[in-house]
Subunit: 328 residues, 2 copies
């Protein structure tokens, strides 16, 4: 097998986040389900933005956050995702490259603008997301560079990519290239509503292509149809070689056919904003895995990365994560 | 004298901030003087942005931050400033209106894009700013709405407005309307280099038009040419009715012809980013003044507002400031 050039390559919806504080009454008036992601059109995005409070703009996108985390940990990261050649697109491209991630995808020169995600953070630090996919609908298999995938130890895919129509083809193409080259494929389920929208396709894809599955408790219950966490864990062990299941403050469980490793969450003085917790858990986990660490250590690295990102506003690390993992 | 419709109306450069962490070596390589603001052209802005780390975008502009602070304290605020009709301009307009500030200025429909300020925050929490003025050069006296100024208890001007060519005319027009209507005029000196660039004009303007002057220690030394703080304070007392002089952690001194009030800084658990400290001090001070409070209380309100904004990244309040001043 050829040497790797990247530890992880990710494919995802390339999105700029707009974060604002909001109270529960606002979510209720807007008909938003707390803690989840809803897809919205351009008109609804404008209307909701007009009513929400002052925001901060920060590059986001689930897999993009993960790859920024891998780079921040010191890993070699690459990312495919589609922006438009507009101001938000330039911001997205600058930020991911400035983090050290190889980002070769050409921006769209026509069509809808760069995607944005309106994130409302409630006083309990939960985030509720409304995403306008914009230019992400233009991502297709032509954006998956075969050489990059072939040279990456892990290809990481976000479940959200099942939403825009042609991204799924990109998804399958990347998984097949990875498999042909003896590389591993990781999938994050992203969101329970996303699982609801694409359950059968995600189950099939997981069974056929996935070596490492990331999910939180609600997502794995939704995927498996199990009644409780233990049931879901038992079911998923037969489907994928490694399942890394996160349970917020209760830590995570990593299940293989042979064993289950339970790892505590890393301590956080004050949770400011849970945006990006799952994305950064995946970053730490995959960084560990590609460095040859054991699964329990991978989960600890995931917990440390997640703890950093929930301690402040925004879904990308503020502190270089490599400085937080000395001695681990 | 007619009733007021606004407590404070501000005029300033309407800017979106791009904040990123940087180390001292980076500032040195880029030839940047720590803690100050430098004007840069579009080409330099692109080059510097290309080399700096991942950023967060947040609405800024010195006077705009002040007016957002006045609104956050519960005051009635208005603002004039020029953006372009582009994405950053829409972000700026949304954020200031979402804070509750009346913002009537029409965006430019041609010419340079919305202004941006590249802010590098070093590990000591100091901020170093490089500003591309963009659409701000289009602000002129035609943007000063006479009715709004006439109906505002205080007209607040940032010294940075002496940089773009026609803004100074707007500045003088606003001051004259305020004076004719028996209102007060406040001026912030903004930055020591800005004072260096426009010393004579600022001295003349202060003497002819200004009722309340805001400056930090370096700025007042630069304006007066005095050797030490006491000397500067003595000189400025003869020039303006009220001088509010800030000294970072050493608090502030408010000087009138009759008295000097010294007020301690409000405590901050951890200073994260000093961007906006002076802007928010002015917000608290003017909120107090227009509510009829004594000068020492105005200074305390300024200190509380400044303490909030330096405790996090970005130059606008995260916590509604009205919640921090109960019982004062």
């Amino acid at each position: 097998m050829a040497e790797t050039r990247h530890d992880v390559v990710g494919i995802g919806n390339a999105i700029v986040d707009v974060l604002a504080h909001a109270d529960d009454a606002f979510l209720e008036r807007e008909g938003l389900a707390k803690g989840t992601m809803a897809l919205i059109d351009a008109e609804r995005a404008d209307a909701l933005y007009g009513r929400m409070g002052p925001g901060i703009e920060v590059s986001g996108g689930s897999a993009a956050n993960t790859l920024a985390g891998v780079a921040s940990l010191g890993g070699r990261a690459a990312y495919f995702g589609k922006v438009r050649d507009d101001e938000l697109g330039r911001i997205f491209a600058h930020d991911i490259r400035a983090t050290g991630v190889h980002f070769p995808t050409a921006p769209a020169t026509s069509g809808p603008g760069t995607a944005r995600c309106l994130i409302l953070v409630t006083p309990d630090a939960q985030r509720t997301m409304s995403t306008y996919l914009g230019a992400c609908v233009d991502l297709g298999p032509e954006d998956v560079d075969e050489d990059t995938v072939a040279a990456s130890a892990v290809t990481y895919l976000e479940g959200y990519l099942f939403d825009p129509p042609r991204a799924r083809e990109a998804f399958v193409k990347a998984a097949e290239i990875a498999r042909r080259n003896g590389r591993r494929v990781a999938l994050s389920l992203s969101d329970p509503f996303c699982v609801d929208r694409h359950r059968d396709a995600l189950r099939l894809f997981a069974r056929e292509h996935v070596d490492i599955l990331f999910a939180n408790e609600v997502e794995i219950l939704s995927l498996t149809g199990a009644d409780d966490f233990q049931g879901a864990l038992d079911m998923i062990r037969g489907t994928v070689p490694i399942a890394a299941l996160t349970r917020s403050a209760a830590g995570s469980a990593v299940a293989t056919a042979d064993a289950v490793h339970e790892v505590a969450a890393a301590p956080v003085a004050r949770v400011a904003d849970t945006t990006g917790a799952g994305d950064l858990y995946a970053a730490g986990f995959l960084f560990g895995l590609t460095a040859g660490r054991d699964l329990a250590t991978c989960a600890r690295l995931g917990s440390i990365a997640a703890a950093e990102v929930i301690s402040h506003f925004g879904a990308r690390p503020e502190t270089p994560l490599a400085s937080l993992i000395h001695g681990i």
